[in-house]
Subunit: 161 residues, 4 copies
Amino acid sequence: MTIMPDLPFLTPLSPQHLAAAGVPEGWQFGMADVVRFHELDALNHVNNVAYFRWFESLRIPYFAAYHLSTYSPGDPTLVVMTNSARYHAPMFLGERYVTVTRTASFRSSSFRMEYAIYGEGTLRATGDCIVVCLEEDAATKRPLPAAAIDAFVSRDKASRE
Amino acid sequence: MTIMPDLPFLTPLSPQHLAAAGVPEGWQFGMADVVRFHELDALNHVNNVAYFRWFESLRIPYFAAYHLSTYSPGDPTLVVMTNSARYHAPMFLGERYVTVTRTASFRSSSFRMEYAIYGEGTLRATGDCIVVCLEEDAATKRPLPAAAIDAFVSRDKASRE
Amino acid sequence: MTIMPDLPFLTPLSPQHLAAAGVPEGWQFGMADVVRFHELDALNHVNNVAYFRWFESLRIPYFAAYHLSTYSPGDPTLVVMTNSARYHAPMFLGERYVTVTRTASFRSSSFRMEYAIYGEGTLRATGDCIVVCLEEDAATKRPLPAAAIDAFVSRDKASRE
Amino acid sequence: MTIMPDLPFLTPLSPQHLAAAGVPEGWQFGMADVVRFHELDALNHVNNVAYFRWFESLRIPYFAAYHLSTYSPGDPTLVVMTNSARYHAPMFLGERYVTVTRTASFRSSSFRMEYAIYGEGTLRATGDCIVVCLEEDAATKRPLPAAAIDAFVSRDKASRE
């Protein structure tokens, strides 16, 4: 609790806040949150599925900040094609944590995102997912917006596959 | 979005913050949060069940602040016996809101809590629940802690039934 | 486990199956299901919010069977305005249960549904909700379909308020 | 809907039922279920996170059937260390599907499970996870029960890594 006394919650964190929360360099986009009771399971720790919700809850504002979609008419339909997580250490009720994400690489109409969870300064989980950019029919591939590719490269140092 | 630019999230709000968020007098305990993607349903608004999660996510820190339980060994087992919600206006992705709660009345080993959700300054939902205080066997009634009754009365102006 | 050895799951039950599961007369529409691990909380029993999911999971096929909506274009938008539950006895991993529902009363564009959960032949929870029938704009009231009113009255013995 | 008219839900399926549901050979353990409203997201298809719930809801009865744990005192603590899913085709409200799982390989105190989802006879998703067998302290490794290894090998043709 002592490591992050002043972290603002649910707001994209500054590089200073990320560093203060124990996030290593190389992650530009993250938000702080708190473990809720409904995220625990009968073993009294955070259930493994809850982490995918945390990844998703960061992915949506990331999509907006990186010019991919604000879920408005005309925006691409972004569909998760693969999803993975690795659990490094358990998490408990009331713990504060930071979820971070970045795009590691991209193709013409898809990209691979990475995730990490830092709780009280230690790594708790990592993950990745591949997202495909589609037209509103959710079937036809749509090229990534140029502004999104710019943000992938300039902010996340993503590489073109 | 403009009504709550500086609200701290996930932290018990001060009376000034509650007032700034449009919460009327009479509510002492509240926290701010943001609508997540997974709380929407196929109708693209917040699903009616999600509000019960929000009530729960505030109830747990309320239990700690009001000396009822921190979910530690020896603490009473607190069980929800009834639950209700009334939906006043729909809520959408990314909206900021404040959940508030208070204990309206209590008996020797149970109490009735009230809830309200204010989003961007307008009332979105209300609710209540009855909570029973039990021993660790989750069956035998246990008298409410004296410190909890003091907090119910002094902070929430709760009445003994 | 012995009381319902042959109950078909997730399929509207016949009057014989409802009776075999310990459901009293007066309930015409029900389905059997099993408690899942993710419905438990840290207290190792079914979390109070899960019951609202069970009500919802029965409500949707009820809407289809009672000619209200199959969530197809042109169907009314059905919105839950109030929701309540009362918990009579806890439920545990792997328990089989039957959720039943009926419409108790209706007005021109709304109706009140009742719910009950029977697990291994004993009452575990009850609930009710008020549903409003709206146009596709989710704002303008729409009269209940005549076929729905017929089903409310003939199958559920619902009364007009 | 026509491919699986008589499938029993939520009950381990026989080889005949699995074949009738379009599941290829090599999967011995599966159950049928139906897509619920709360599993949809705002895009009106099943949310990518829901599949992990389906894997979990099959994993628990698999643990019992394969002599790993019935979540009773003295049983090992089974913790998911990695989790992955790949989405092949979207799923929609009311669709019937079969989740299947098997253990592909094992070590002295861990094993790798595979999953697949077949909906109306076509592959919708696949996944895998690594599960570690621990003592009740949820920290010390515990050797896999001999009966579980026997079941992995004889039923699932799992290989020792």
